[in-house]
């Protein structure tokens, strides 16, 4: 299992759009991917689960991936959360 922690992106954290984009990034991989924040865990492929984390900008998000391409999945999500412009 691969694990990494990234801050929820600004300006509003995991809101509909960001959550949708994160979900799409996660869905590109076969691995089982979980995101934890605020003591809750969600399936990264579920918009509803991601929204219900209530993660504001800067909240630490723990990403855990298990299965095929787990490492690439965590890397891709990390790139999305930290560096890549949110179009």
């Amino acid at each position: 299992m691969i694990e990494a922690i990234f801050p929820a992106p600004g300006p509003t954290g995991l809101h509909a759009r960001t959550a949708g984009l994160l979900m799409k990034a996660a869905s590109a991989f076969k691995a089982r991917i979980d995101v934890s924040a605020n003591g809750r865990t969600a399936d990264a492929k579920s918009v509803m689960g991601l929204l219900a984390l209530g993660a504001e900008a800067g909240t630490p998000l723990t990403i855990r991936a298990d299965g095929p391409e787990a490492e690439q999945a965590v890397k891709a999500i990390g790139a999305f959360l930290t560096g890549k412009p949110i179009k």
Binding site: P9, S46, M48, L51, A52, G54, K84, I86
Partner: protein, 567 residues
């Protein structure tokens, strides 16, 4: 029976009450549950079917330029196929429930989780999740609804965007909501589509039964289920008058405001929301000269966050379809109190903490708005307009905030527009008299003639007893406008006029002669201003101005213009 709510989208409609869901809600007596594995299969099929239908509806809306509706429908499609929702429903099925009961319980569980969060935006999404649950049940039970005859007034405590999106075009005449305010999705969508809507009807809504006829008024916020013949006739007259007005608009939409000797003045529109922007473009506006941002802040307990502001501004910018959009920063004060931003009571609110002064005193509030505007600039040309400036220090301070916002956005990797033009609303005599120096610090002037008039003439425009005194045709106001145009000319920046004066056909020749290049006004006034400009020449306009400037009173100017420019 007469009900009273809040008018959230203007217009009048007469039709039959249609209560979606009531004829299509789950009917346990007609639903025959299968084995748990059959129920699982039905649920998967219903989820896929609903998601596909929502995506298709989103595509249709997107092709018709209704980006806002399309975005909402797409998020709903994601929710309809959401793995957490489906897993939770599967657990219910495994526990012995049928698919419709399972999906309602699962949606309720997810909605409750969202409702437990601090964030207002996320709490409101709980209603979306419940909608999805009900839509899935309708898909499962094959709840084909039979619609009442004729024009429909869609009625419910909440109405989901997909229901509005799925109703056959031309059938939907009005929207009646029990809950909510102008900011609920259904109200925004109704407004965007030009359909009258009333919200906030509360529990009284339940007296409106499927199939009843009713007359609704989206301006007054009323519903009347027993309209008299006279009520209906009055409503029909209003509808016909609105249609005539619209026809006149269309006739003039393609005409430019050009004098007989070929000088053009560009007509921009004043607007508050994306739906108005769209209507203005249809009426032939060259852009939005004044987008009032206050509407986002009124009538609510909390301030809109950056994301909400960004979405609203972006929707307006997109509705302008590539034409420029000048967004005015928050213009509030003691005279326009905000529940979400309590300002101290003042003896003289018009001379107190207002407009740019409020923004500069609250950098957090100001920067949130600036960032939202800068981000919206990535979707099309925007400019920022600062209200009630008195000297260059305020413009310099605002520029520093803008630069800081650009820096932050850049670092966060969020796309935004660089070098957004910064305009000053000239609405204090100080700004008008200092126009030549002020012009070096900004990119354009916009004359706010309503405030300029009240400040120049010391006549409170909210005091009815002063109504006769606050006339923008006063020679003192004309001279202040003259100073502003001259100062703008020296600084090499354009000068536009917004405010009631821009919509007055009597004032148009004077503004042309003063050298104003653009007007910004309500699109309803486009035809009369175009007509006034098209029938005059510049030498005639200059002669009128010269006489007017040298008259002693506003009344003298008005009488003179009326005699020279008969209707």
């Amino acid at each position: 029976m007469k009900l009273k709510g809040i008018g959230v989208s203007p217009g009048i409609a007469h039709g039959r009450i249609y209560r979606p869901g009531e004829s299509g809600e789950p009917r346990p007596e007609t639903y025959v549950p299968g084995t748990p594995s059959e129920e699982q299969a039905r649920l998967s099929a219903a989820s896929a079917e609903l998601a596909a239908r929502l995506n298709k509806a989103a595509d249709t809306r997107r092709r018709q330029g209704e980006t806002e509706t399309a975005d909402i429908l797409e998020v709903h499609a994601l929710m309809a196929a959401d793995p957490e929702l489906l897993q939770s429903a599967e657990r219910e099925i495994a526990a012995g429930h049928d698919a419709p009961a399972a999906v309602l319980a699962a949606a309720e569980e997810q909605a409750a989780r969202l409702e437990s969060l601090k964030d207002d935006y996320l709490r409101e999404r709980a209603a979306d999740v419940r909608d999805i649950g009900r839509s899935l049940v309708r898909t499962l039970t094959g709840g084909e609804e039979t619609l009442p005859e004729g024009p429909l007034l869609i009625t419910g405590q909440e109405i989901s965007p997909e229901l509005l999106g799925e109703l056959p075009a031309g059938r939907l005449a009005g929207v009646l909501l029990g809950g909510g305010s102008a900011t609920v999705h259904a109200a925004i969508l109704a407004k965007a589509r030009g359909i009258p809507a009333v919200a906030g009807l509360g529990a009284a809504l339940d007296q409106l039964k499927e199939g009843m006829t009713a007359l609704m008024d989206g301006n007054a916020g009323t519903v009347n289920t027993a309209p008299t013949a006279a009520d209906i006739a009055a409503a029909e007259t209003a509808v016909i008058a609105a249609r005539r007005e619209a026809e006149k608009q269309r006739e003039w939409a393609g005409v430019s405001a050009i004098t007989r000797d070929g000088v053009k003045i560009r007509l921009f529109a004043n607007a508050s929301v994306a739906a108005e922007v769209k209507a203005a473009m249809d009426a032939g506006a060259e852009g939005i000269g004044l987008l009032r941002s206050e509407f986002l802040f009124f009538g609510r307990d909390t301030l809109p966050d950056e994301e909400e502001q960004y979405r609203a501004y972006r929707a307006a910018v997109e509705a302008a379809g590539g034409k420029p959009c000048a967004i005015r920063t928050l213009d509030v004060g003691g005279d326009k109190p905000l529940k979400a931003l309590p300002l101290p009571r003042e003896e003289n609110p018009f001379l107190g903490q207002r407009a740019i002064r409020v923004s500069l005193a609250r950098p957090g509030l100001f920067r949130t708005q600036l960032r939202a505007i800068l981000r919206a600039g990535a979707a099309g040309p925007v400019s920022i307009l600062l209200p009630m400036v008195t000297d260059a220090s305020e413009v310099v301070a605002a520029r520093e905030h803008i630069a800081a916002c650009c820096h932050d956005l850049q670092r966060a990797g969020i796309s935004f527009a660089e070098n957004v033009p910064l305009g000053v609303m000239v609405e204090t005599p100080a700004a008008a008299l200092l126009a030549s120096s002020l012009g070096k610090h900004c990119d354009f002037f916009s004359l706010g003639t309503n405030d300029l008039t009240q400040y120049a003439l010391a006549a409170d425009r909210s005091n009815p007893a002063m109504a006769g005194l606050g006339d923008y045709l006063h020679p003192a106001v004309l001279r202040l406008i003259g100073f502003t145009v001259q100062g703008g000319g020296e600084a090499g920046i354009p000068v536009s006029v917004c405010g009631e004066m821009a919509a007055d056909p009597l004032a148009a020749p004077l503004l042309l002669a003063l050298g104003v290049s653009d007007l910004s006004l309500a699109p309803a006034a486009f035809p009369r201003v175009k007509r006034a400009v098209c029938r005059i020449t510049m030498p005639e306009a200059r002669a009128l101005l010269e006489s007017a400037m040298n008259m002693p009173t506003a009344a003298a100017v008005r009488d003179f213009l009326q005699s020279k420019l008969p209707e």
